[in-house]
Symmetry: C3
Subunit: 265 residues, 3 copies
């Protein structure tokens, strides 16, 4: 796992430019989280410039949390530009299943763009894989088997999948990593999943093997949450301490806390 | 007042889904505040999905702080869907009186949607009730009698009104509650009023009697602000401590601090 | 420098209304920063009301960080209304140089609006002055001479310029101030530059001499950052402590830390 931990240093050395077309609830937290970890965030939502920005970025994140039709157009143009340049694309299908507009947009993104990785909760991933899931807002009350859902979705959609929950699953449909890092306070702040999608994009931007890079992102992020939780009394303090931890966590401290297990298919 | 305090436990047990169509300044703080108190926030601004989301929500919040025409259309569709399903609608007329566009939109919402409750400051409520008020940005320099303005507005507009200021007034035009909880630091952070509108929606979503539910929201919120202020040196620390307090305040601690007085008409 | 320090008291006494048409990443932080320092923020992006709001504001800020075409229209209308009423306009050309859309909008703003002051980093200012600059996201890797770039831009564009970096330069093309206040953690949070543009607008709104007012803003802001950095362990805590410091810094404490040098041309 030393190789995995070294990816954090690569991110901090290269400061990859992460282009986020994301929802308006989490733009600030996403930008601050990326800066704290050592990456370079940029947000550009307009159809007129999304493709230009994606083409010079090191990774692109598409997040459908607060969709509008102009933003969808920007996402499609940015995604196509990223595909042409070989820039990795992370897709965060926030709340898919909740409305037919959101479902239609999610399916269109998957059809028209070659997505490198999808990050979502069990309900969102299950929906994309065609399973039924009871939605509770943008969170999921889905009680299925996370590992099975993630593998099934990765196979069907021919992409890597990060399914987050009590146990995080990272898979390409064949191999998988399981990650036990993280803290319950992550569910008490908005954007914890969205920021992870962007952090994963930063690791993909510098990493060689996609699955290892995604596993690194998930474990680093969960470890930072554990440090932050031990320094806070509630979600307000946690949010602040989490940004501090993303900034402060180093390879060595992370390796001691790392709860990653690789399972080959 | 024990019955009122018990509504907080109801919110935390039921985790009502609160659909917010709100201004872009406060989306993050609103989502974090609702999560901290134990409710489930969702933001969905697009015309294409606003009605679908409102129809499955437990309450809807319409906030006109940073209007755009597409968002107005989304508000009207969401409001109508909420009305059809009996979902309570809270209206926050941020900055009404400041521009004719804002005034026109506010009046259109009141005409086309059956609003359960309006939450605003004295200037905003006075404007809706037809009085003149000198506006200072989106805050109010109105010096009138809050109780009189709130009762007059509730009667004219046939809805419940929460008028916030040094003394908060909660009224349906007949009975009223006065609330003395709160802290001056609330005026030094953006979105303190906006988040209260959403917190009130969460109480309306679980409460029986509308007036009591609104009074509960205002007192719980002000009590959390008092705890937060005692733990902070300025508005940055206060913002963080306030989210912690919304998370931590329990029925018993609240009851000891509750400053609510019911006045029957 | 006593006269400069006294401008802070003027801002707090007059609480100028600052109309921000800004990017969606920093709306919340900008509003909270302006409130913390003692000004009154308002955000209004819609074409339908931007001119009305600008006409009653004490200063207007145009920030192109997350452009959309409707927002550009709102900026142009607001800028023209501000010009007609003599309301100072601050322009923040975030990320100019990164896409042709952004470049086109920046040039259009400079052509159609009489801008009182431009605040940007070396790469952004150099781009506007016609120099080449290698862009890294919305930050700049430009290694040129900040003083020379700022003076050249101020002359060419016939406006005041604040160029921020390790050494901040404030110039009207003839005289200049150099400011050494500030802290490296400002580069680790999003919106530190954007908020400075709005804080500068608040000083312009109350100040007589434009150059002195801008120098005051930059030094006050950097001093607050220094206090905040000494009270924080990372960017999360810094963000919160910075808002506290903007609230707490008083004339006397500031004067002791002030690192401002005037150089006449």
């Amino acid at each position: 796992m030393n190789e995995i931990a070294s990816l954090l240093t690569s991110v901090r050395d290269r400061q990859p430019l992460i282009h986020n077309i994301t929802n308006q609830v989490v733009t600030n937290f996403t930008a601050n989280g990326l800066l704290a970890m050592g990456a370079s965030p940029v947000m550009a939502n307009a159809e007129e410039e999304a493709a230009d920005m994606a083409a010079v970025a090191d990774a692109l994140v598409l997040n459908i949390g607060t969709l509008t039709t102009p933003q969808v157009n920007a996402m499609l143009k940015a995604g196509q530009a990223a595909n042409q340049k070989g820039v990795p694309v992370v897709f965060d299908p926030v709340g898919v299943g909740a409305t037919s507009f959101r479902n239609m947009v999610a399916l269109r993104i998957l059809e028209e763009i070659d997505v490198s990785l999808i990050r979502g909760n069990a309900g969102e991933i299950a929906f994309l894989a065609g399973a039924d899931a009871e939605m509770k807002g943008v969170d999921s009350a889905f009680q299925g088997d996370g590992r099975r859902i993630a593998v099934e979705a990765a196979k069907q959609l021919e992409t890597a999948v990060v399914l987050t929950g009590e146990e995080d699953v990272i898979t390409d449909g064949n191999s998988l990593y399981l990650c036990g890092n993280g803290h319950q306070l992550q569910t008490k702040i908005t954007g914890a999943g969205c920021l992870l999608s962007s952090v994963t994009a930063a690791f993909l931007a510098v990493g060689g093997d996609k699955l290892s890079a995604a596993a690194a992102a998930v474990s680093y992020y969960g470890t930072a949450a554990e440090f932050a939780a031990s320094a806070s009394d509630g979600p307000g303090g946690f949010q602040s301490a989490f940004l501090d931890a993303l900034y402060q966590v180093e390879e060595e401290g992370w390796r001691k806390k790392m709860q990653l297990k690789r399972v080959d298919g």
